[in-house]
Amino acid sequence: MKYVIIGNGAAAIGAIEGIRSNDKKSEIVLLSKENCISYSKPQLYKMLNEENVQNIYYRNEEFYTTNNVSTILGKTLISVDFNKKILLLEDDTIKYDKLLIATGAKANVPKLKGFDGETYSFTNIDEALKLKESLVNKDKIAVLGGGLIGVKLSEYLHKMGKEVILIVSSKGVLSSLGDEKISQILNNEIIEKGVNLLLSTKIVGAKKIDSKIELKLEKENIICEAIVSCKGVKPEVSPFEKTELSIDQGIKVDDHMKTNIDDVFAAGDVTEMYNSIEDGYCNIPILPNAYGGGYCAGINMSGGDAKIDSVYPMNSLQIFDVQMITMGLLSSAEKDEVITMFDSKKRIYRKLVIREGKLIGAALLGDIDRAGILNNIIKCNLDVSAIKEELLNSKINFYVLPRNMREVIVKSYIEGIK
């Protein structure tokens, strides 16, 4: 048996650990176009600061030898012959028995009209290093995009002492979460801390003027020294585009992380998975899904039988001094019941989205302790009609749940039964 894994992110690491939980011996080959050991994407911004570089690696170097994985790093995959089970590299071929595609996602960098200079992006180490080098003698940076990467990067650049202009096309940052209150709180926080935040602003084009750049907006023009585009990511599916692999927003996988092709699995940001809340397939590029999907795939590849938990978006982040955790669906439909709590003094905000008595989304801002209890309630599809007020207003308390439910939950996690 020969396992081949394409990619070196959390999904790939998960797969290695999944395979090795069943199969200690067979060969594992890991192919990655990045020439470094696995690192944590959410921690990427630390690359900008020399002292923190060591803090981004997802596993240590011994990981590969300990797990008996041969790595082929820095090589690009051209295409795959799924019939012959062969991977085609620029100068080589690799045979596989079981294949995992975990190529992740790449930056979505829209072309700026009239601009022939460098538009930086920030989705991998290479991009990060490139940005870092260019920052040496630049002080005024424009960050395009109010998504997670854009906001986080702005914060970090600001802390490095740069003058940051964060340009967001919507009315607030993190608008994709679908919660105006959160966007509003974060907008205030970002502005308060000194980032130049431009909301509802569309970029018309850009022009290079000597060492500076003139960024053309709808109403004004601004001068900056570098542009970083943070307009989201898209699955890296280019090597498979002309194959029979079923791809929509990403590579389509079932709950066993199998693709439509035998012996080919996919996991992580490259995939499109079933979202139990949305009742549809979508791409959810977050780390827990990547590792969990990879681990699940690894088990199934090595002869086990694992099913992925229901997936839905969730994230934990800190923007300047605002700590928050969001999970599930926050942009409610009409049929949903939305209850919120806001304590402006303590800057605590809590929102619950309830559909047919079941919790389908929650946001916790300010006080995030024990958020996992809510997450589990979403995951287990528990009815919260009787306890919703308590969930909203008190400290999150496991004992809010009825005893029999708690006992089932405890038992299921102890014994690993879903």
Binding site: I13, G14, S40, K41, P42, Q43, N55, Y58, R59, L287, P288, Y291, G292, Y295, M314, N315, S316, L317, Q318, Q323, I325, M327, I368, D369, R370, A371, G372, I373, N375, N376, K379, I396, N397, F398, Y399, V400, R403, I409, V410, Y413, I414, E415, G416
Partner: protein
Amino acid sequence: MKRRIICNEDFCIGCRLCEVHCNVKHSKSRDIILAYKYEKEKEPSRMTFEQKEQVCGSIVCMNCKDPLCIKACSMGAIKIEDGTVIIDTDRCVGCWMCVMVCPFGAIKRGDKKAFKCDHCHDEEVPICVLNCPNKALMYEAD
């Protein structure tokens, strides 16, 4: 060996001595009066005392068979050693992904590091279990 501390809420008397003893055990001096009255650095309790009306109990890390925190950790800082889920505080960067997923709310936020019950791996029996005056906290190992 997998250690587990489970609270039988039928017999939890709500005294919260488990928290006290846990705090003392994880203090610098390991002396109750010094720890509480004189030591400056204090972590929040690793035990979570829960109460709803007349029912109460303490919750700590259950050492799940398939821990969600390990999957969620953005730094690969959580692992199972000897059957016990442990957080490598050198690697932890305080992203709180673990807090987001722990179904029992057993992971606490310290000063930029996550921490939780370590099941007193250096003791024969966890200190909270040892000191539970009504044996509501039960210790299982397998």
